[in-house]
C-alpha cells in the first residue's frame, strides 16, 4: 500500500493549532506524515478523506488525553482498528484526528470461566485461536476476521456465518471499558454474566460505530468448542427452491451452525474464478452450504436428518467428512465475492435482512429487479438469519447504468423494509447507508438517537458525519487500491 498524492480538502476547518498542542502532549505518537495520513484516510469502502493527524495509541490513558484536547478544540476524532468496515464508518470524512488503537491487542483467556478479556485492537482470528487453544470457542466470524479487530467488531456489532445458531458480536460481549467522548473513563459490566445495574450503556455502545465513545477493552463470553462438525453442500433448481428448502430445514428445528446461500450469479463467478464446479452436471445452480456442529452423537443424528432433507429438495449434494473436504466446499463461498467484478467495475454492496419466512418472496423480488434493471445482481449470504449480501454490479463510467444502480438500491431498501426486514444486518450505517436510515427507523426513534448522541457527545467530536447525515455513496468515487482482504 503506497502513499500517493491526493487532493486534501482544504476548504474545511484547519485543526493545525490543536494538532500542535496534541504533539506537545503525546510527542512521536502523533503522526502527520503523508504515508501515515493516507493509511488512515479510508476503510474497506475505499472512500478516502485525509485526517490531520494519526495517533498511534500505546496506552489507554493516551485516549483520555486525545479526547480532552479534541473537546477543547472541537476536533473530530475517528477511531480505527483494522479499517475493514464496508460502509465508510472508518473514513474520517471531516478530517481531524484518527485514533489508531491497533496496538492495544492483549488477549487473556480465563480458562476456568470460559471468558476472554481482550484489548480493543486484538484481531478476531487471534482471539479465536487463543480461545480454541484453551478448548473454548468464540463464534462471531465476519469474513474479515484475519484483519478486523474486536473494537471494530463491537463498534459495528459484526455478524458472520455463525449468527443463526450462535448470534452476533453483541451476544458475546459481557463488559466494556473505555472512554466517553468527554474523555472520562467508564466501565460497563464485569467478569460475570448478569448485570442489571442502571441503564444498559454497554449495548448502546455496541453498534454505535464509534460515535458515542472509545472502547479500550472487552470481556467476551466463550462457549465450549464443538466436538464435531459436518458439512454438506447442495445444489437447487433455482433460488426460490433453495430458499424454500431453508424454510423446510428450519422447520425441522435442526439449527445448523452455518447455513449459507449463493445464487446462480455468485456460483457462476466462483466457478469461473476457480476453474471448476462442485457439481459438473449441475453447473451454475444456486447452492446452500450447511454445517452441523455439536457433540459427536448429536452431529451423527442430525446428519441423517439433513441428508433426508437434501434428498427431498436438492438436485445434487455432497458432504464433507474431513476438514480438508470441507475446505474445498467452502472455497466457492470465499471466491464468489471478488469474482463479481467480471460483471461490472463498480459494486453497490448491501447487507439487507428479511424475516426468515420472507426469503422466498425476497428471491422473487430480486429476480424481477434484475430483469427490470438489466443489471447483474449477485446475492449470497446467511440464509439461517435472513441476512443477504446483495451486490449490484454496474460500470461506473456508464451514466445510464449508474443511474439504474442507484434506483435498484432505492427499490431494494424499500422492499426489505416493507417485508419487515432491515437495511443492514451486520455492516452498519456508516456513510453508505445513511440515505436509508429514516426509511427503516421512525422519526421519533431517530430523534431519540440524536438526543442520546448529544447527551454523550455534546461537542459532536466522535466520528462526525456518520449514521445520521445523508451521504449519497453512488456520487462518490472510491480510490483504486488493493486491500489485503480483497479477494481478487
Amino acid at each position: 500500500m503506497a502513499a500517493r498524492k491526493h487532493n486534501i480538502d482544504r476548504s474545511r476547518e484547519s485543526y493545525d493549532a490543536a494538532t500542535s498542542a496534541l504533539k506537545r502532549a503525546l510527542g512521536s505518537r502523533v503522526r502527520t506524515d503523508e504515508e501515515s495520513l493516507f493509511r488512515a484516510s479510508f476503510d474497506g469502502s475505499k472512500l478516502c478523506y485525509f485526517p490531520d493527524a494519526v495517533i498511534a495509541v500505546r496506552a489507554e490513558r493516551d485516549i483520555g488525553t486525545v479526547l480532552a484536547l479534541a473537546n477543547k478544540h472541537g476536533v473530530p476524532v475517528t477511531v480505527r482498528g483494522g479499517g475493514t468496515s464496508l460502509t465508510g464508518s472508518g473514513s474520517p470524512i471531516r478530517g481531524g484526528w484518527v485514533l489508531d488503537v491497533s496496538a492495544l491487542d492483549s488477549i487473556v483467556i480465563y480458562e476456568r470461566e470460559g471468558m476472554a478479556e481482550v484489548g480493543v485492537g486484538a484481531k478476531i482470528s487471534a482471539i479465536q485461536k487463543a480461545a480454541e487453544d484453551a478448548g473454548w470457542y468464540y463464534p462471531p466470524d465476519p469474513s474479515s476476521k484475519d484483519h478486523s479487530t474486536i473494537g471494530g467488531n463491537i463498534a459495528c456489532n459484526a455478524g458472520g456465518m455463525h449468527g443463526a445458531k450462535y448470534g452476533v458480536t453483541r451476544d458475546f460481549v459481557l463488559a466494556l471499558t473505555g472512554f466517553l467522548p468527554t474523555g472520562e473513563r467508564v466501565k460497563w459490566g464485569g467478569r460475570f454474566k448478569k448485570f442489571a445495574c442502571g441503564y444498559n450503556l454497554r449495548d448502546l455502545w455496541i453498534g454505535s460505530e464509534g460515535t458515542l465513545g472509545v472502547v479500550t477493552s472487552a470481556v467476551l463470553k466463550l462457549v465450549p468448542k464443538p466436538e464435531a462438525k459436518w458439512t454438506l453442500v447442495a445444489a437447487f433448481a433455482e433460488e426460490a427452491v433453495a430458499l424454500g428448502a431453508v424454510q423446510a430445514l428450519i422447520g425441522r428445528r435442526l439449527l445448523p451452525s452455518i447455513l449459507e446461500f449463493l445464487d446462480r450469479h455468485s456460483v457462476q463467478c466462483a466457478e469461473r474464478a476457480t476453474g471448476r464446479s462442485l457439481f459438473p452436471e449441475q453447473r451454475g445452480k444456486p447452492l446452500l452450504l450447511v454445517e452441523i456442529d455439536g457433540t459427536a452423537g448429536e452431529v451423527a443424528a442430525k446428519q441423517q436428518d439433513v441428508l433426508a432433507w437434501a434428498a427431498e429438495h436438492a438436485v445434487a449434494s455432497a458432504e464433507a467428512r474431513t476438514s480438508e473436504e470441507a475446505e474445498k466446499l467452502w472455497e466457492v463461498r470465499r471466491k464468489c465475492s471478488g469474482a463479481m467484478f467480471e460483471l461490472g467495475d463498480a459494486k453497490l454492496n448491501e447487507d439487507v435482512v428479511v424475516p426468515l419466512f420472507s426469503q422466498v418472496a425476497f428471491a422473487g423480488f430480486l429476480d424481477e429487479l434484475q430483469r427490470s434493471s438489466r443489471l447483474p445482481i449477485a446475492t449470497f449470504g446467511h440464509a439461517g438469519d435472513g441476512n443477504f449480501h446483495v451486490n449490484i454490479m454496474y460500470h461506473r463510467d456508464d451514466a445510464a447504468e449508474s443511474k439504474r444502480a442507484e434506483k435498484v438500491v432505492q427499490r431494494l431498501m424499500r422492499k426489505v423494509v416493507a417485508l419487515g426486514g432491515t437495511i443492514t444486518g451486520e455492516h452498519g450505517i456508516g456513510l453508505a447507508k445513511t440515505p436509508f436510515l429514516r426509511l427503516d427507523r421512525s422519526e421519533a426513534e431517530v430523534r431519540a438517537m440524536l438526543a442520546i448522541k448529544h447527551a454523550l457527545d455534546p461537542r459532536g467530536i466522535m466520528n462526525p458525519g456518520k449514521i445520521f447525515e445523508v451521504f449519497e455513496v453512488w456520487k462518490h468515487r472510491p480510490i483504486k487500491i488493493r486491500l489485503p482482504w480483497d479477494h481478487r
Binding site: 480458562e111 476456568r112 470461566e113 456489532n157 449468527g163 452476533v168 466517553l180 472520562e184 473513563r185 467508564v186 466501565k187 459490566g189 464485569g190 467478569r191 460475570f192 454474566k193 448478569k194 448485570f195 442489571a196 445495574c197 442502571g198 441503564y199 450503556l201 449495548d203 448502546l204 455496541i206 453498534g207 454505535s208 462457549v223 428450519i250 455439536g294 457433540t295 452423537g297 448429536e298 451423527a300 435482512v353 424475516p355 426468515l356 419466512f357 446467511h382 438469519d385 435472513g386 441476512n387 419487515g420 432491515t422 437495511i423 443492514t424 444486518g425 451486520e426 452498519g428 450505517i429 427503516d440 421512525s442 426513534e445 430523534r447 438517537m449 438526543a451 442520546i452 454523550l456 449514521i467
Partner: protein, 479 residues
C-alpha cells in the same frame, strides 16, 4: 451508606399521603378511560402502593388501567399537562422497589393489556402486550413445541412488561441468558407521548443505535413498554435433572467451577444452603436431604445424545469434588417437583419471619465460595438471620434476610449488613444486582458500583429522554 432507605420510605406511608381524589388530572383520566378504569379511593389504591420489596410503600394518587397503546399515549399526555408523575407497573413482583409510587402520582397498571397478538411458528416469534403473564408466554410457546427460556421465580404472576423493564433472569440463565436475550422488538411510549417501535423479526439488525437494549432494564424510567416481540427457541428434545448433596459449601462451589471448566454448560445450576434446604423441604415436601450443607440442582437439556453425555460427566465431577450423594430425577414429574421446590425458595423463607429481604449480589464464579462466606460472616456479626440460595452458574446469589420491619434496630442492622455485602461484591469484581434491578432499594449503592462518570451519564440520559422527570421519578437515579 448514609441516609436510611427504609426509615425514609416508611415515613412517607399513609399518614403523610394525600388522598388520591385530589389529583387535578383525575377528571381528564375519567373522561378518557371511563370511571371503571380509574381508581382513586384511598382503600382502592393501597394495593398499588407497594411491590414485593420489603418495607417500601407509598400510596399513589390514582391508579389507571389502560387497555390499548393509544390510551397509554393519552394518559401520558394528560400527565404531562398536569405535571403528574407516572409509575408503570404490572403484577408488582419487583424486588427492588422499582414500581413503588411517589406521592400524588398516577400508577399505570398494564394488567389489562394482556393480549397475545401473534404466535409466528415459522419465524419463531411471539408478539404480546406488556401485561401478559410470563407463565402464559411459556405455555403458549410450549404448546407449539417451542421454548421461551427466561423463567424468573415469579413467572406465574409477573408480567412480560415487568420482566423487560427489570431485565429479569431466572433459573435457565446460565445456558439461555436473561430476558434481554429474547427481546427482538419493543413498542415504547416515550415521555413526549410519541410511540416508537424498536426492532423487528430479524436476527441481525445494525441500523442506528440500539435503543431497544437501552429500554430493556430501564425500570420504567425512560419510556413505557406496551408491546414486546419475543424470540422463541425450538424445544430441547431431552432434559435431565440431577440433585447433588454436599457436606461442605466449598465443595459445591468447586463442583460448579469444575463443570464449567469441563466445558459443560447445563441450563440450570442452582444452589441452596442449609437453611434454605430446610425451609423448602418444610414447605414443599419433596424429600430434600436435611443433613446437607449445600445442594446443587442441575438440569441439562438439548439433544438426547448430548444430554446423556452431560449428565454422566456432571455426576462424575460432582462425586470427584466431594458430593455425598448424586441423584438423577427418575422422570419428568420428579424433575418438575425439584424445579418447583427451588422456585418456592423465596415463598418458603418468607413464612419464617414477618419480613423477607431478598438480595441479588453477583460475583465472578471463581469468587462464589468467598462471597458466601462473607455473607455468613457479615450476618453473624450483625446478629442477623440469613439464608442464601441462587443461580450459582451465573454467580448470582440471593442472600435473604429473615427479619421484621417493625423492629427498627434490626432493620438498621440489616441495612448495615446489606451495605457491607454490596461492598464485598464490588471488591470481588461483582455487581450489586444481577437481575432485580436498582429501583429504590439499590439506589444508594449505584454510584459506588458505576463510578462518577458512568453515574453522571445515566442522569444525562434520563434527562434527555424524560426532561420533565415524569416517568417513575426517583428510581435508578435522581435526574
Amino acid at each position: 451508606m448514609k441516609g436510611s432507605l427504609f426509615q425514609e420510605n416508611r415515613m412517607a406511608d399513609q399518614e403523610t399521603c394525600s388522598i388520591g381524589g385530589d389529583l387535578a388530572c383525575v377528571p381528564a383520566l375519567n373522561a378518557r378511560l371511563g370511571p371503571g378504569c380509574v381508581l382513586t379511593g384511598a382503600e382502592d389504591v393501597i394495593p398499588y402502593g407497594f411491590d414485593a420489596t420489603a418495607a417500601l410503600k407509598q400510596r399513589p394518587g390514582a391508579v389507571v388501567f389502560p387497555k390499548t397503546t393509544s390510551e397509554v399515549v393519552d394518559i401520558v399526555e394528560i400527565a404531562r399537562r398536569h405535571r403528574t408523575p407516572i409509575i408503570t407497573r404490572g403484577s408488582g413482583t419487583g424486588l427492588s422497589g422499582g414500581s413503588v409510587p411517589v406521592e400524588n402520582s398516577i400508577v399505570m397498571c398494564l394488567l389489562g393489556m394482556n393480549r397475545i397478538l401473534e404466535l409466528d411458528t415459522r419465524n419463531l416469534t411471539l408478539l404480546v402486550e406488556a401485561g401478559v403473564v410470563t407463565q402464559d408466554i411459556f405455555n403458549q410457546a410450549d404448546a407449539a413445541g417451542l421454548l421461551y427460556p427466561p423463567d424468573p421465580s415469579s413467572m406465574k404472576v409477573s408480567t412480560i412488561g415487568g420482566n423487560v423493564a427489570e431485565n429479569s433472569g431466572g433459573l435457565r440463565g446460565l445456558k439461555y441468558g436473561v430476558t434481554r436475550d429474547y427481546v427482538m422488538g419493543l413498542e415504547v411510549v416515550l415521555a413526549d407521548g410519541s410511540v416508537c417501535w424498536l426492532g423487528n423479526k430479524c436476527v441481525k439488525d445494525v441500523a442506528g443505535y440500539n435503543l431497544r437494549d437501552l429500554f430493556i432494564g430501564s425500570e420504567g424510567t425512560l419510556g413505557i413498554i406496551t408491546k414486546v416481540l419475543l424470540k422463541l427457541l425450538p424445544k430441547p428434545a431431552a432434559r435431565r435433572t440431577l440433585l447433588a448433596t454436599f457436606g461442605r459449601m466449598d465443595a459445591a462451589a468447586e463442583t460448579v467451577s469444575a463443570i464449567i471448566e469441563a466445558k459443560i454448560i447445563p441450563c440450570t445450576l442452582e444452589f441452596l444452603d442449609r437453611k434454605t434446604i430446610h425451609c423448602v423441604e418444610d414447605y414443599a415436601r419433596v424429600g430434600l436431604p436435611l443433613d446437607a450443607e449445600a445442594l446443587l440442582l442441575i438440569e441439562s437439556d438439548g439433544h438426547p445424545a448430548a444430554v446423556e453425555d452431560d449428565v454422566t460427566r456432571i455426576a462424575a465431577l460432582a462425586r470427584r469434588h466431594g458430593a455425598i450423594e448424586v441423584n438423577c430425577a427418575r422422570d419428568a414429574v420428579e424433575a418438575a417437583q425439584l424445579a418447583t421446590a427451588r422456585r418456592s425458595a423465596f415463598s418458603a423463607l418468607a413464612r419464617l419471619k414477618p419480613t423477607t429481604i431478598l438480595e441479588d449480589a453477583t460475583v465472578p464464579r471463581s469468587e462464589l465460595a468467598n462471597m458466601i462466606r462473607s455473607i455468613q460472616e457479615v450476618a453473624q456479626r450483625h446478629g442477623l438471620d440469613v439464608a442464601t440460595f441462587g443461580h450459582f452458574g451465573d454467580g448470582n446469589l440471593h442472600p435473604t434476610f429473615l427479619t421484621n420491619e417493625r423492629d427498627a434496630d434490626e432493620m438498621r442492622r440489616v441495612e448495615l449488613a446489606m451495605g457491607e455485602i454490596f461492598e464485598r461484591a464490588c471488591e470481588f469484581g461483582g455487581t450489586i444486582t444481577g437481575e432485580h434491578g436498582v429501583g429504590l432499594a439499590k439506589k444508594p449503592f449505584l454510584r459506588r458500583q458505576l463510578g462518577n462518570a458512568s453515574y453522571a451519564l445515566l442522569k444525562a440520559i434520563k434527562r434527555t429522554l424524560d426532561p420533565d422527570g415524569l416517568l417513575n421519578p426517583g428510581k435508578v437515579v435522581d435526574a
